[in-house]
Each structure stands twice: as structure tokens, then as C-alpha cells.
Symmetry: C2
Subunit: 80 residues, 2 copies
């Protein structure tokens, strides 16, 4: 089963990486960019019987720093 | 307008970060994880009239290394 974990910084948390990308875009001449936030996209290939609770536990224990990050679990259809 | 850019390594490209996460998950006792791929999730807040071509150019010039990475542009509905 394919699972996608979207990890992004909580609103209000300073995002230096996003700032740097924003400045670089402006330096390349791309106007009209108001804000940039950079997060992580983790694609897992797990056994079909992996439960939502186990996925959440993986996120809380390792994949996301829940103090400053939010995570969203997107389960793709299991390959038939 | 909110835009999400999903940047992930091309299939076949070695993913040391994904490997490290995979080993760490196994170390924490999570069995049943077959593969882990780590990519970037870039959330842009851009002017509503930003074209798809401009977004692709941002990706090709800065946001993704097209030699080893694929990118996918996901445009969210413009806030009314």
C-alpha cells in the first residue's frame, strides 16, 4: 500500500528555508510570489494491513516534529 | 492563489535520506515498511494571474533539480 505523508511547518513558525527560496525566486525575476513554505513529502510503501494508528505513530515518533510541524496522511489505493 | 509543488526523486535514483528513515522506522519496531522515499513539498502563495508556464519555469530554474527529480504542480482554488 502506498502512503504519502505531507509534513509542513505550523503557521506562525519561522521558515528560513522558505524565505531563502522566496528571495531566490525574486532574484530570478519572478514577481507576484507572496509567500513560500517548504515542507517534506514522505512516500511510504507499507504492508496493506498497516493501520491508520500505526501510521500516525510513525509520524509522531519519527517522521514529523509535532512541536513545530503538522502532518497529513494520504493513503493511496492498495495496488490490486 | 495557493500552489503546491510536489518534488520527488526520479525512480532509480538512490535516496540515502529515505534509506535512513527506513532503518530508523525498523529500529523503532515498525515492521511491514517496504520502502521510504523522501521529497519536498513547497507551498507557494502567488498572484492569481500567475500562469502554469511561469510555475513550471520556477520549478525548472530553482525549485527542482530536473536531472534527478520530478515535480508535480497542484493549483489550489484561488481564495474568493
Amino acid at each position: 500500500m502506498k502512503v504519502r505523508i505531507h509534513v509542513s511547518l505550523k503557521p506562525g513558525v519561522l521558515d528560513p528555508q522558505g524565505r531563502a527560496v522566496h528571495h531566490a525566486l525574486e532574484g530570478l525575476g519572478f514577481s507576484g510570489v507572496d509567500d513560500v513554505r517548504v515542507g517534506r513529502l514522505i512516500e511510504l510503501d507499507v504492508a496493506d494491513d498497516t493501520s491508520q494508528a500505526q501510521l500516525e505513530e510513525m509520524c509522531r515518533k519519527l517522521l514529523a516534529n509535532t512541536v513545530i510541524e503538522n502532518f497529513r496522511i494520504e493513503t493511496m489505493e492498495a495496488a490490486r
